[in-house]
Symmetry: C2
Subunit: 268 residues, 2 copies
């Protein structure tokens, strides 16, 4: 019995999210079904955390216990041959005994892409949140450092979260401007995309999306940059901005070391 | 009666191409149907040239003659409100009398994106041609200058072309390496994309895709860089490489000045 670690990328547009659900196709179910012919029975596959419906991954991590002696390289090929083209296994490796994609995770990085331009771009569809009104990006940028550190993020937790512990540590937060997808092909610009990148030990349900929704309130001039620190201190979800849409969110990487989190603690 | 010039971007994945066809939805039909409520009758819309099924556009140009006094800005809004999200009108402007998207076109730029990496990338799906075998990019780059100039491109013309005149002028050809779509979000690379950009007075059916297929033969080491000039000189389609898939091709821009092409001449 070997523990295998899989690294996955997926376009979340067509899926109900990572976790198995009755109402549609999940990434977890796709992987488990792709593994069926190998072991002849359903192998439970653990993800590093849930991603919501429509959320994308560039480096989701999953773990499973395998009896079949297939090599990691052949496992990558076998799974990709059975998975749809919008879900790809990027790597497989034998992990240490006891490795668990969720409980062994030390640090995660999420990115959120927001397209700020009067008109929508067909190539940004399902890849970013299109905000047509002109945003005050400098004001948003001034607010970002308030997120870094250990905070009670109760003001940014989504309803339906299955945890009551809302303290988390964000060790990096960065807002930068990038060109649009395929913008490099265009002679004349093609608009800009705001990318918010966050790293930390764990994230609460909708935490990044609620943070982006709140930053956009600042970008619209409805709130001042220093309001974000007040919002966090309030621990009051009703004061936060609306939840930004799922299509702009990407799980970028999951980092591992020795196990740290206790079973039962929610990790996203 | 005003002549209007529209600039359009579209993700061609779901469509049979620019031109109306019996077997599926075309971009031309979508635009004409979106215009219906305005004039109460079908207005013929002319494109700068056909794009094939699955081919994308960042700056396709179309022209039409409108009696309705709507402002260009309102026309953009009205059309976008009726078009699907993968087709967008980027701009509308009143053009000179006699302007015609196809016959007035002076110069076009196409780009072809090729993703060369062992594994497919879900975010490059339908956005580039995935070639898993390692390509000799330097050899491909050495071949590219042979394309520039006025040549008889009979060796690269697709079957079903409706022209017998196969001489065209390519005034710019450039092969460069770029990151993948969303590659900037990843800490560690994420592969590279080869982008071939071509500009010229006009292109034959499948000309860019057959050129890319032939360049890839050079990249595979099946042919030498100098073979490309021999291929053009042969004027023999059977000697060219296979037609590269449509999903990697983008119509980037169409440039206009005074009318130049005669009616009846095929322009792509």
């Amino acid at each position: 019995l070997r523990v295998l670690k899989l690294t996955l990328a997926y376009d979340g547009t067509r899926y109900v999210g990572w976790q198995r659900q009755a109402n549609g196709v999940s990434i977890q179910a796709l992987i488990e079904e792709a593994l069926l012919p190998l072991e002849g029975r359903r192998l439970p596959v653990a993800g590093s955390g849930r991603t919501d419906a429509g959320v994308h991954a560039l480096g989701q991590v999953a773990s499973l216990e395998l009896t079949h002696p297939i090599s990691p390289a052949d496992l990558v090929s076998a799974l990709n041959a059975r998975l749809p083209a919008d879900v790809r296994v990027l790597a497989a490796e034998v992990a240490a005994d006891g490795f668990h994609a969720r409980f062994s995770a030390l640090r995660k990085t999420y990115a959120y892409r927001l397209y700020n331009a009067p008109l929508a771009d067909p190539f940004e569809r399902n890849r970013s949140w299109h905000v047509p009104q002109r945003l005050d990006i400098e004001a948003m940028r001034r607010a970002v450092p308030s997120i870094v550190g250990t905070h009670d993020f109760a003001a940014l937790v989504g309803s339906g979260s299955d945890t009551s512990r809302t303290e988390r540590t964000v060790d990096r937060a960065e807002l930068r401007l990038e060109g649009t997808l395929l913008g490099s092909l265009r002679a004349a610009g093609g608009g800009e995309v705001l990318v918010l990148t966050l790293s930390g030990g764990g994230f609460l349900r909708h935490m990044v999306r609620n943070l982006v929704g709140s930053l956009v309130e600042i970008g619209h001039g409805k709130r001042s940059p220093k309001w974000l620190a007040d919002l966090l201190a309030s621990r009051d979800r009703r004061q936060a901005g609306p939840t930004a849409p799922a299509c702009g969110l990407y799980l970028v990487t999951v980092e591992y070391g020795r196990p740290r989190l206790e079973r039962g603690e929610e990790v996203r």
